[in-house]
Symmetry: C2
Subunit: 281 residues, 2 copies
């Protein structure tokens, strides 16, 4: 995950912009007269260009491209490529969870064919579902890795992830600790998705994963604020990338004006808020 | 899931053929001189045509198409369309697990855009990750649904799915029971993926889900046999679709001759073996 941390330090920003494009919320001047995939393509390219100096990385929500059929996957490929050219490493938010040759095929697809630096992975099938992604990231040697879903930010997660004593999240965190290997900067190549909406849960996961990079959803639209990130920080006061999707993409809806200017201002505001609250990079 | 059951009864077969194409194992005469996506396309079309009378349905392993980039998704679309024309409902084995609008986008992608009848879904994020798939299947009204991963057949699954007391699988089974709605034939639109490699686990899941259609991996290549399916049967002696992928696709490697003939013979043999063991449709 070294490449993500380096990007965060270079920009002095722990912010990840999430590309979850919803065609209905793309400004009319971008989407009129063109196909849905083309509207999504133009909109997302505009966002990447606008926020490139304000954010550490970009997270692409694969579902939003998958629902556009094969042309959507062309757009997905182009966005990952363009992001890299702009100095923005891409995290493929695919949450895949399968085993053996199937997991290896997903890892090959998103890390090698589409060229993301890191992916999100679902641990329900156990170590078999995680290892192939780490193997592919190691073979590529680009300082990437996999973020394993540990404690997600959505309301119904607790019924599954909080089950048992100790709760399932702790068992999954143990798996992440066991499977990861430390990179040159000290962080493991197995990171964790840990939402900002349950601080006590987050603090406990950090105790179990002192060397993991966290990817934290739930900021902004899902109700979390800058102070909610603090329990997730590591002993160096960093180690957390904070994602915002709708809060940046659709900032223009409240602010008016050009969507790119609004997105840049929103990303910058979020970065400043996080840094001011004590979230380091 | 009514449409899957009807297909099983029409063919008198509980067999599902899994399309997990591995380009290296496609017969040389099919793959020579053409691109990988084209080789996969030809091979899979040949399989569909060969086994159409022997199997109830087809399960497409999305990863194998995703790793071929956008052209692979064109092949995936064509195979689902062709399968339907051949009277084979398609199960999109995507194991997606995300929430809210993202899950809705995945559901739209695979059930509506690509046109599968059912999908596999990962429950790690809770009810939020399952409901959007059921909603989309209901809106489409084609008698399809979602198979939720409950007890998978892989070696490392137990470390996660067996955690807690009662174990996590039972909690997930409870979720499936709560979210599903009965269809016209009595089966719920929320089915379950239950491997054949842990019979005691499977029997317990059946107790908790008396009205669910099960999709059972682990037969053949993963070590399960016809008798291992018996604990999964419902009180009518049916309710289980048994998947085989490699055992059918690559039957020609052992048997020699045309891969289509070998696949047909393997599918027929599996069907006869299951029926003889008492697996009803």
């Amino acid at each position: 995950m070294q490449a993500l941390l380096e990007a965060a330090r270079r920009k002095r920003s722990p912010v990840v912009v999430g590309l979850d494009p919803d065609p209905a919320r793309i400004p009319a001047e971008v989407r009129e007269g063109v196909s849905e995939p083309e509207a999504v393509r133009r909109f997302c390219l505009g966002i990447l260009e606008a926020v490139r100096e304000e954010v550490a990385a970009v997270k692409l929500q694969a579902a939003c491209f998958e629902r556009l059929g094969p042309p959507g996957m062309e757009v997905y490929a182009e966005l990952i490529r363009t992001a890299r050219e702009l100095g923005l490493p891409a995290i493929a938010d695919v949450k895949r969870g399968d085993i053996g040759t199937t997991a290896a095929a997903y890892a090959e697809a998103h890390l090698r064919v589409y060229g993301a630096l890191a992916v999100t992975v679902n641990p329900y099938m156990g170590a078999d579902a995680i290892e192939p992604f780490l193997r592919e990231a190691r073979a590529l040697g680009r300082g990437g890795g996999a973020f394993v879903l540990v404690a997600t930010s959505n309301p119904s997660a607790e019924a599954i992830q909080g089950a048992g004593d100790p709760p399932l999240v702790e068992r999954v965190a143990g798996l992440v600790a066991a499977l990861g290997r430390p990179g040159p900067g000290g962080y493991s190549d197995a990171g964790a998705v840990v939402g900002v909406t349950r601080p006590a849960r987050g603090r406990r996961v950090r105790e179990l994963l002192p060397e993991a990079l966290f990817l934290a959803p739930g900021y902004g639209a899902q109700g979390g604020g800058a102070r909610d990130v603090l329990p997730l920080l590591d002993r160096r006061g960093g180690g957390v990338l904070v994602n915002s999707s709708r809060g940046i993409l659709y900032a223009y809806e409240g602010a008016g004006g050009d969507y790119r200017d609004a997105a840049r201002a929103a990303a910058r505001g979020m970065r400043d808020e996080l840094l001011a609250a004590g979230v380091g990079v």
